[in-house]
C-alpha cells in the first residue's frame, strides 16, 4: 500500500502533541474556574452559617449598629450589627471616588488633548508609578502624613473616614485615570475635528463632545475605582481608627468591612459565632465585587447601544 496514504490514515506524534496540549491548557483553565467557584462556595457557606447555625438575624446584621458577635442581645441572638462597617466601607468608597473623579478626568484630558507626546509619556509613567506603590506604603504614608494633617486642619484624632478617603483617593486615582484615558482615546477623531470646525472652543468640544461620547467608559472607570476602594484592606485599616461604632462624623474613628476582617480573623476561633460573623462580612465583600462586576457589564452593554 502507498506509504503516504497509510500515514494520512494513521495518528502520528502530532496527534499526541495536540492531545497533550489540549489537556494541559484545558486543565489550567479548569483549575482557575474551580478556584473561583471554591472561593464563592467556601466563603458563602461560612458566611451563611452565622444565620443558619448561630441564628443571628439577617435584618439585624444589615441594620443593627452593635457589633459584638461573642455576646447575645436581649432577644437571645448574637449581636452582629454590621451597619457601622457597611457604612464605613461605602463611605470611604464614595468619598474616594468623589475626590478622585475630577482629578482623574482632568489628568486624562490633559494626557489625551493638551499635552505633547513627551509629557504624555511622562504622565503615563506617573500613573504607572502610582499604581505600583504597595498599599501598605500608602497606609504608612497615611499614618505619618494624612492622619496628622487631618488632625491639625479638620480636628478630631485624625483617624476616621476622611483620612481613609484621602488615602484611597490617591490609590484609585491611577485606576480611574488610565481607564478614562482609554475611553477618551476611543472617541473617533472626526467628532473632535467636526466640533472644532464648527467654531466651538476646545473646552466646548471637550465638554459637549468628548466627555459625552466617552461617558460610558468613564462610568466604567469610576466603578472599577470604587471596586478597588471597596476591597482595599490594609491602607484603610491603618488610618481609619478601627472603632466598630456608627461613625458620628467623617472625623470620628470608624471601621470598614475589610478593616474588621483583617483585625478580627486572627483573634477569633474557627467555628465560633465571632468567627462566622466575620465570614459574613467577607461574604458581603464578595457579593459587592460581583455587583461591581455586573455594573461594569451593564454600563458597557448600554454604552454599545
Amino acid at each position: 500500500m502507498d506509504p503516504i496514504r497509510e500515514k494520512i490514515l494513521k495518528p502520528s506524534k502530532e496527534t499526541r502533541q495536540d492531545i497533550l496540549g489540549k489537556t494541559l491548557s484545558y486543565a489550567s483553565i479548569f483549575l482557575i474556574v474551580a478556584v473561583v467557584l471554591a472561593i464563592f462556595l467556601f466563603v458563602a457557606s461560612k458566611g451563611i452559617a452565622t444565620f443558619t447555625e448561630n441564628k443571628a438575624s439577617l435584618v439585624e446584621f444589615l441594620t443593627g449598629t452593635e457589633w459584638n458577635p461573642g455576646a447575645n442581645g436581649p432577644n437571645g441572638k448574637p449581636l452582629v450589627g454590621a451597619l457601622p462597617m457597611i457604612l464605613g466601607s461605602f463611605g470611604v468608597t464614595f468619598l474616594a471616588a468623589l475626590f478622585a473623579t475630577p482629578f482623574a478626568i482632568g489628568t486624562a484630558l490633559y494626557m489625551t488633548e493638551l499635552s505633547s507626546k513627551r509629557s504624555q509619556k511622562f504622565m503615563q509613567s506617573v500613573i504607572e508609578l502610582l499604581v505600583g506603590i504597595p498599599s501598605v506604603v500608602y497606609g504608612f504614608i497615611g499614618l505619618t502624613v494624612v492622619v496628622p494633617f487631618v488632625r491639625d486642619h479638620f480636628g478630631g484624632s485624625g483617624y476616621g473616614i476622611l483620612s481613609g478617603s484621602f488615602v484611597l483617593f490617591v490609590m484609585v486615582l491611577p485606576t480611574i485615570t488610565s481607564m478614562t484615558v482609554d475611553s477618551l482615546r476611543a472617541v473617533p477623531k472626526y467628532y473632535k475635528s467636526a466640533s472644532l470646525a464648527l467654531g466651538a472652543t476646545e473646552w466646548q468640544t471637550i465638554y459637549r463632545v468628548l466627555l459625552r461620547a466617552a461617558m460610558p467608559g468613564i462610568m466604567t472607570a469610576i466603578v472599577f475605582g470604587m471596586a478597588r476602594a471597596f476591597g482595599e484592606a490594609l491602607a484603610v485599616q491603618m488610618v481609619i481608627g478601627n472603632a466598630t461604632l456608627l461613625p458620628e462624623s467623617l472625623l470620628s474613628p470608624a471601621s470598614t468591612l475589610t478593616s474588621v476582617l483583617t483585625m478580627g480573623i486572627g483573634n477569633t476561633v474557627m467555628g465560633t459565632v465571632s468567627n462566622n460573623a466575620l465570614w459574613s462580612l467577607a461574604l458581603i465583600l464578595l457579593l459587592m465585587s460581583l455587583v461591581f462586576n455586573l455594573a461594569v457589564r451593564f454600563i458597557s452593554r448600554k454604552g454599545k447601544m
Binding site: F42, F103, G139, F140, A233, T258, G266, N293
Partner: protein
C-alpha cells in the same frame, strides 16, 4: 464671562489638575525615599528584626519577600500560560467560554483580603499546612492568575494569525505551532507582564497576613536543606514578608523604632517596585528590538 475666557480658564484648570497629580507622586516618592533611605544600610538589610527593642533590621523579611515572589511565579506562570493559551488558541466562541472569561474577571476584582482569607480557610486550616510560605504562595497565585492569564492571552493575540497558519500548513501540530512559533514571538509582552506582576506581588500584604503569617522565624542561612525547619528554603515555615512587616509593626505599636523601620522598609519596597517597573520596560523594548532586528 464670554466663551473665550471660559475656554482659557477650563484649560488652565485641566493643566493645574495634571500638575497636582504630578506633585502628589513627587511628594510621595520624595517623602518615602527621603525619610526612608537614611535608615537603609547594609546592617538594616541583613539583620533580623527585633520585636521589643530598637535597632532591628529587615533581613529575613527581605529574603522571604523574594523567596515568596519566586515561588508564586513558579506556580502561577505555568498555570497562566496554560490558561492564556486556552483562551487565545483553543477557546471556542460560546457561552462556556463567556462564563470562563467572566469567572476570571471576577477573580481579578476580588478584594485581596478575601483571597487571603480563602487561602487561610482552605490551606492553613483545612489542609493543615499552617501559616507557611507555601500557603502564601498559593494565595498570591490566585491573586496573580487573572492578570497574568490576560497578559499571556493578549500577547499571544498580538502575534498575527498568519504565523499560526504558517506552522499549521507545514504539518506541525497546533500545540507545537503555539509553543514553538507563536509563544517565542509573544515573549516580550509576556515577560513585561510577568515583571509588572512581580512588582504587585512583592508589595502585596493583605493576602499574606493569614497565609504566610506574621512571624519571621529565625532562619539559618548556612542550612540549605529545604526539609530542615531552620532552612531558608523550607516551604512550611511561617514567612513574614517586607510588606506584612510594615503593616504589623504599625498596627501593633510595640516596636520602639517602628516608624524608622517602616520608613526604611517602605523605601526598600518602593525601590524594588521601581526596579521592577523600569526593568519591565527595558526588557520589553530590548526583546522587541531583538526579535525585529535586521542583524
Amino acid at each position: 464671562m464670554n466663551t473665550k475666557k471660559v475656554n482659557k480658564l477650563a484649560l488652565a484648570v485641566i493643566k493645574l489638575i495634571a500638575a497636582v497629580v504630578v506633585v502628589i507622586l513627587a511628594f510621595l516618592l520624595g517623602k518615602i525615599l527621603l525619610s526612608g533611605l537614611p535608615h537603609v544600610s547594609w546592617h538594616f538589610l541583613t539583620t533580623p528584626s527585633r520585636s521589643f527593642t530598637a535597632g532591628g533590621g529587615i533581613g529575613i523579611q527581605l529574603f522571604n519577600s523574594f523567596y515568596l515572589l519566586i515561588l508564586t511565579l513558579l506556580i502561577s506562570f505555568p498555570l497562566s500560560l496554560g490558561a492564556g493559551i486556552y483562551l487565545a488558541e483553543y477557546a471556542p466562541k460560546n457561552r462556556v467560554t463567556e462564563g470562563v472569561r467572566m469567572a476570571i474577571e471576577v477573580l481579578s476584582s476580588l478584594p485581596s483580603v478575601v483571597v487571603g482569607l480563602f487561602g487561610f480557610l482552605l490551606f492553613v486550616v483545612q489542609f493543615k499546612m499552617g501559616f507557611s510560605i507555601i500557603s502564601g504562595a498559593i494565595a498570591l497565585t490566585f491573586f496573580n492568575l487573572p492578570l497574568l492569564t490576560r497578559n499571556v492571552e493578549d500577547s499571544l493575540n498580538n502575534v498575527p494569525k498568519l504565523q499560526r497558519e504558517a506552522g499549521l500548513a507545514l504539518g506541525l501540530s497546533k500545540w507545537h505551532t503555539v509553543t514553538k512559533i507563536i509563544l517565542p514571538e509573544a515573549l516580550p509582552g509576556i515577560l513585561t507582564g510577568i515583571v509588572l506582576c512581580a512588582g504587585r506581588v512583592f508589595g502585596e500584604a493583605a493576602a499574606l497576613i493569614y497565609t504566610a503569617g506574621q512571624s519571621a522565624t529565625n532562619i539559618d542561612f548556612s542550612n540549605w536543606n529545604p526539609f530542615d525547619e531552620s532552612s531558608p528554603l523550607n516551604l512550611f515555615r511561617p514567612a513574614e514578608t517586607l510588606a506584612v512587616h510594615i503593616w504589623k509593626i504599625n498596627s501593633e505599636g510595640i516596636m520602639p523604632d517602628a516608624e524608622q523601620i517602616s520608613a526604611g522598609a517602605s523605601a526598600v519596597l518602593i525601590v524594588a517596585v521601581l526596579i521592577f517597573n523600569l526593568s519591565a520596560r527595558y526588557l520589553g523594548n530590548r526583546l522587541y528590538k531583538r526579535l525585529t532586528a535586521s542583524k
